[in-house]
């Protein structure tokens, strides 16, 4: 055990493993952050398609398209999506892209499917009377959404988005399938140097745990902030 610990420390500090770990951490955070940003943009668009009234033909077609999209990304594993993107889609398109960019895009597309559901639920949780009151005053559907409904739904959406971010952080551990050196891969490499994985994997788990706990703390702070601002209104 002590020998394993010493080997680990030597790999980590003397042989430059910490550089890989820091770069890996950066890659992990990068993929999750940008993935979530792309996801929020796509998710918002999809949620709009989902909640918009379906009188006209265009929203109805869009909804079908969006259903296929959401069905695909929720119905297949992330790893498969990564492999499809990297080893199938890119060669078909004939373009070479950094694997971390591929990971960000795939994570963005994937989380877009999940975020859309979060958004839809958040919007639909706002009392329908709010929309009606806006429409009755002569405001357009879009204006009422932007000024009245969406601001009220954010309170419900934000904490769930925090959870989605945590999910993304954890799911990034599969990106080494497309040759991205993330946190997991960095520790696997340290383990591979001596074929001793016990210490690296335990430390890896702890790093993820701390990372996730920090994010959870941040989400909680934001939530509390919202509660406080609500209380401020009630003075």
């Amino acid at each position: 055990m002590e020998k394993q610990w010493n080997n680990f420390c030597r790999e980590l500090f003397d042989n430059g493993g910490y550089k890989d770990v820091l770069n890996g951490l950066l890659a992990t955070v990068e993929i999750a952050v940008f993935g979530l940003i792309i996801g929020i943009i796509i998710g918002t668009l999809i949620a709009m398609v989902k909640v918009v009234p379906k009188y006209k033909i265009l929203p109805r077609i869009l909804e079908k398209v969006v259903d296929v999209y959401v069905g695909f990304f929720r119905g297949t594993p992330m790893v498969v999506q990564l492999l499809l993107g990297y080893f199938v889609l890119l060669p078909l398109l004939g373009i070479a892209v950094d694997s971390i960019i591929v990971a960000i895009v795939i994570f963005g597309l994937n989380s877009g499917a999940y975020v859309s559901e979060i958004m839809r639920a958040g919007i639909q949780s706002v009392d329908s009377g709010q929309l009606e009151a806006g429409r009755a005053l002569g405001l357009s559907y879009g204006k009422t959404m932007m000024r009245i409904v969406i601001p009220q739904s954010i309170k419900n959406i934000l904490p769930t988005l925090g959870n989605e971010f945590i999910t993304l952080i954890k799911e990034t551990s599969v990106v080494s399938f497309i040759a991205v050196v993330d946190l997991t891969k960095a520790f696997r490499q340290i383990g591979a140097a001596h074929y001793e994985y016990l210490v690296p994997y335990v430390v890896l788990a702890l790093v993820y745990l701390v990372l996730v706990m920090l994010i959870a703390l941040g989400v909680k702070m934001i939530e509390r902030r919202f509660k406080r601002s609500e209380r401020r209104y009630s003075k």
Binding site: Y55, D127, R147, Y233
Partner: protein
């Protein structure tokens, strides 16, 4: 039926053969009604008779399935008509108040007027001027109902009566030609009903055209100059209040009145 007691030029809203179904159930089975300028119409009837649906169809919060609603020379039931323009001239007050929870009282009142004023902006007029003008107007309205000190408060801090009175002046701030009230006092605690009815009486005295769906028979008798009894998706009886209560002709109205009076 004495629909045409006033001359036709005064007709503000002309509803003809209005139909509406939810799924397979027909809620409105061809409703005809003329609302003349300055008229105060009270609609009463048993629950489920379609009176709220009728009111919500008038400004197309529910899309009618058939018939026509003529307002300012256009048929609101026609999907091609820009309903938003007309809704600005038709004020609506809801049973559940529906104040915007994310905005304070002042913003609740000024939100829509500012958007409209910005769209019809005159040359040289700045956004700031528009805002100030609308806010000034809102304060005046708030003073009239004695709630000027609540301008910066959020709806969650107000009592039901206060909310409903603000909802009424929010609609008034758009300078509507007609006000629709959908059971405005049903969700209120009994002690708050009075303040809302008082405000509505004041509106009536100021000459506002009003269509009121209500359970307050006494209020209807006092304020309305026409009372309508709806039953099973049609207008069963309409008359001036004195005759309406003194000589009800339909047996179902008689039965209804015997229950509520």
């Amino acid at each position: 039926m004495n629909v045409d007691t006033q001359n036709d030029d005064n007709v503000l809203i002309k509803v003809r053969n209005l139909r509406k179904s939810f799924d397979k159930q027909e809620v409105l089975k061809g409703v005809n009604l003329d609302v003349h300028t300055g008229e105060k119409i009270a609609i009463i009837g048993p629950s489920g008779c379609g009176k709220s649906t009728f009111l919500r169809c008038v400004n197309c919060l529910e899309d009618p399935d058939g018939g026509s609603i003529m307002f300012e020379g256009e048929d609101l039931a026609d999907m091609k008509v820009d309903i938003n323009i007309h809704r600005q001239r038709i004020g609506m007050v809801f049973q559940q108040f529906n104040l915007f929870n994310n905005l304070n009282v002042l913003d609740n009142i000024t939100l829509a007027p500012i958007i409209v004023a910005k769209r019809n902006r005159k040359k040289g007029q700045t956004v700031k001027e528009i805002k100030e003008k609308e806010q000034e107007k809102a304060y005046k309205l708030l003073e009239q109902i004695g709630l000027a000190d609540k301008a910066k408060a959020y709806p969650s801090t107000l009592s039901g009566g206060q909310k409903q009175r603000i909802a009424i002046i929010r609609a008034l701030a758009m300078n509507p030609k007609v006000m629709l009230f959908d059971e405005p006092t049903s969700a209120l605690d009994p002690e708050m009903v009075g303040e809302v009815l008082d405000l509505m009486k004041k509106l009536a005295n100021d000459g506002m055209t009003m269509v009121i769906v209500t359970h307050e028979i006494g209020f209807a008798r006092e304020v309305a100059n026409k009372i309508i009894f709806m039953n099973d998706g049609v207008i069963e009886e309409e008359n001036a209040p004195e005759q309406f209560f003194a000589h009800p002709s339909s047996p179902r109205l008689k039965e209804f009145l015997s229950k509520v009076l």
